[in-house]
Subunit: 178 residues, 2 copies
């Protein structure tokens, strides 16, 4: 692949993430192309259809999240601190908006996204372990699980508001054992 083509490909994936986070999974291809500074034709040459683009995007995205979780795990300030900082990290930068957009992806699409599915499953497992540890130590209420955390993240970040991060903190205060 020619160097300029490579550069454009990367720009397109990045633009897709931003646009999908803002406008949802059905954002027009032209918006993505514009944001990347290329024409629609260029997008379609690199990615035969929007599915391919979404898959590329999702893969990059899930790896970032998984890395953040690893960092949180390694911080060694306790399970609840790890959960908390991971949630706040996810809430930041509208990452969750992308997650929300991916969440209502048609089921059949996931079958072309093996890597994404695998990495995500692994991540959920690790988050569950962290939550269980925090609960065992009595640092976190027992009626909220890892899946609830992910749902809540989706809810908050998919609905952008100026005080989103503040709300997330209030929510975390409600989740922490008082």
């Amino acid at each position: 692949m020619r160097a300029d083509a490579r550069r454009n490909r990367d720009r397109i994936v990045e633009a897709a993430r931003a646009v999908v986070a803002e406008r949802g999974i059905e954002a027009p291809m032209e918006l993505i192309a514009r944001r990347a500074g290329v024409g629609v034709g260029t997008v379609y040459r690199r990615f035969p259809d929007r599915h391919a683009l979404i898959a590329a995007m999702a893969e990059q995205y899930i790896h970032e999240i998984a890395d953040a979780l690893t960092k949180a795990e390694e911080s060694e300030r306790g399970a609840w601190a790890a959960v908390r900082s991971f949630v706040l990290w996810c809430g930041d930068q509208g990452r969750g908006a992308l997650a929300a957009a991916l969440a209502d992806l048609p089921q059949e699409l996931f079958e072309e996204m093996r890597e994404f599915v695998t990495v995500r499953a692994n991540m959920v497992e690790r988050l569950e372990a962290l939550v269980a540890a925090a609960q065992e130590r009595g640092e976190m209420r027992a009626d909220v699980g890892a899946d609830d955390l992910m749902t809540l993240l989706n809810i908050f970040t998919c609905h952008p508001t100026p005080r989103g991060e503040h709300y997330l903190r209030v929510m975390l205060d409600g989740i922490a054992t008082g």
Copy 2:
């Protein structure tokens, strides 16, 4: 107006509320007509365009909310209890979904909806008073205001999930002074 026409009119407004709550403010008119058990033609005779229908719907809706707030105020179990029960009432039955849908209404539309605007303004004022009282008594954290409560309601109810009410309760625990 003939009795059957009146009946249909009411049914249409009710159907519109349900459909808009589920599918957003841009839900197809045909869906609303179907849900009301009438043809699209009937909808358009009663309401010249979707704006008129939305206005009728919004008016009915805001009165219900205002009534609920009145009930909460009258319960006399304290300001925080009133705020809490009002928020939970709103969260119930997907009322917020409708609020969310109304929230991203084009600005110019509100100018044809005087009644709605007036009643809503009055309601917000009363909620603010309740919040101030709860905060003064130290029952509620000071960094969350009436507008935040409304935003949070929108956020939660516009994004329907099986555990929505539970999340709202957790959130309220975070908002209450611990």
